[in-house]
């Protein structure tokens, strides 16, 4: 399968990127591409414009701020996984990254890209939600901080505006104990169901249109997960209870 036609843009600064996102209709940002490229190859995504931000310099920092870790838009998942800073300040993020696909995918994929893509079965949005982090979205209108609780709107949907570019994700220090557990069919697959424990907080993924905060004593309450080839709603609820119990047993 080959991608459909699109106009290709490769800005070299953030401002250029934002200007493009403001002026172009039907544009998608290409960062790591590990989620977007398969969609393009399948012709499931047919954006008129691709804005490739990989040439923007100075957008790949992983740094400490406000007691947590800031991960910029072009920081590759592998770099964040290997980061000693992250291991020290937010080991929950390091653990979560080891569950994301495979190392070769993580060499190219970005943390911010995964969060902006908002696949309900992916790990990083749930980690952001469990920790209570935020993303910084920039546009010509300026910077906007979006808390995790206000970020995820639906399946592959966020509250990021079409003219905004996610420039950074901020993860607070992970409390002790923290854990991420998921059930997937094969190593590296998307989760049938997953839980993220950050101290007393619990976030679930793979069981709702977005990651959701839940009560550890009754994690399945109010959930209406969808069914697919590998898990019925009942099975998902069952796994949520099993995984929550495991996460809070330690």
């Amino acid at each position: 399968m080959k991608p459909p036609r699109f106009e290709y843009h490769a800005p070299s600064t953030i401002d250029e990127a934002c200007a493009l996102l403001t002026s172009l209709e039907d544009a998608k940002v290409l960062a790591g591409g590990q989620s977007l490229m398969p969609l393009l190859n399948f012709r499931l995504a047919r954006p008129a414009h691709l804005v490739d931000i990989n040439r923007v310099a100075g957008l790949d920092r992983i740094y400490e701020r406000d007691g947590g870790v800031g991960v910029q838009a072009l920081a590759r998942q592998a770099a964040v996984e290997d980061s000693e800073l992250v291991a020290r300040v937010c080991p929950l993020l390091s653990d979560a990254l080891r569950l994301v696909a495979h190392r070769v995918i993580r060499n190219r994929g970005t943390v911010c890209g995964s969060i902006a893509h908002a696949d309900p079965a992916s790990e990083l949005p749930a980690v952001l939600l469990a920790l209570g982090g935020h993303v910084v979205a920039r546009s010509k209108r300026g910077d906007r901080k979006i808390e995790a609780g206000a970020l995820f709107a639906g399946v592959f949907e966020t509250s990021i505006a079409p003219d905004e570019l996610v420039v950074e994700a901020w993860f607070p220090r992970s409390p002790k104990p923290s854990a991420i557990l998921e059930e997937s069919r094969r190593h590296g697959d998307f989760a049938l169901a997953g839980v993220v424990r950050a101290g007393d907080r619990l976030a679930l993924f793979g069981v709702a249109p977005t990651p959701v905060v839940a009560d550890a004593k009754d994690p399945a309450r109010g959930l209406q997960p969808s069914g697919d080839l590998e898990a019925t709603p009942e099975f998902r609820l069952h796994l949520v209870r099993v995984l929550t119990e495991k996460a809070f047993a330690a």
Binding site: M1, K2, P38, N41, V104
Partner: protein, 176 residues
């Protein structure tokens, strides 16, 4: 972009995938295409030394970067790279289609973990599909590759010469 040390221009069509550019524009058909959605790993190449899926990159994105394909591991006529040699010794390939992708991924794995544990090996090769071998011989090949890549020490007890079985015409000693 630089491919195996040689400079090449990027294609004019931005939707040309890097995998197709390497295979059909540059004639480097060693990189294979198995799925075009990033799952099988047959298309894995090194981008600035790290393994990535070439089917998930547009060729134009490789401009300014260094690409190494399977052909670049051991230049024409030169002895096989340690990972290649190990795959041969351990019967780590049958039809050969997934092999370049595995070799490049293993090059990356050994860079990360020069003496990988069994678990690290499985982790490291778990992003590549093989339908022929059942992975057993590939695991053995990774272990052997770690031995062959280990730095020479005077009192090293690990054998540096491979199995003395017939290997068609090539030099039997891996490069150090």
């Amino acid at each position: 972009m630089k491919v195996n040390g040689f400079a090449h221009p990027a294609p004019s069509d931005p939707r040309r995938l890097l995998s197709d550019h390497l295979r059909h524009d540059l004639g480097l058909t060693g990189t294979h295409v198995g799925c075009e959605h990033g799952v099988c790993g047959c298309c894995t190449i090194l981008l600035d030394g790290a393994p990535v899926r070439s089917c998930l990159m547009l060729a134009v994105q490789a401009e300014g970067h260094e690409v190494t394909t399977i052909e670049g591991l051991a230049p024409e006529g030169a002895p096989l790279h340690a990972v290649q040699q190990a795959f041969h010794e351990c019967h780590g390939l049958q039809c050969g289609f997934c092999t370049p992708g595995f070799v490049m991924s293993v090059v990356g794995l050994l860079e990360q973990h020069p003496q990988p544990t069994d678990e690290q090996i499985d982790e490291g090769i778990a992003g590549n599909l093989c339908r022929c071998t059942g992975y057993a011989s590939i695991r053995r090949a990774v272990k052997r590759a770690a031995v062959l890549s280990a730095p020479l020490t005077p009192d090293s007890s690990t054998p540096l010469t491979p199995d003395p079985s017939p290997l068609r015409g090539e030099g039997a000693n891996p490069p150090t």
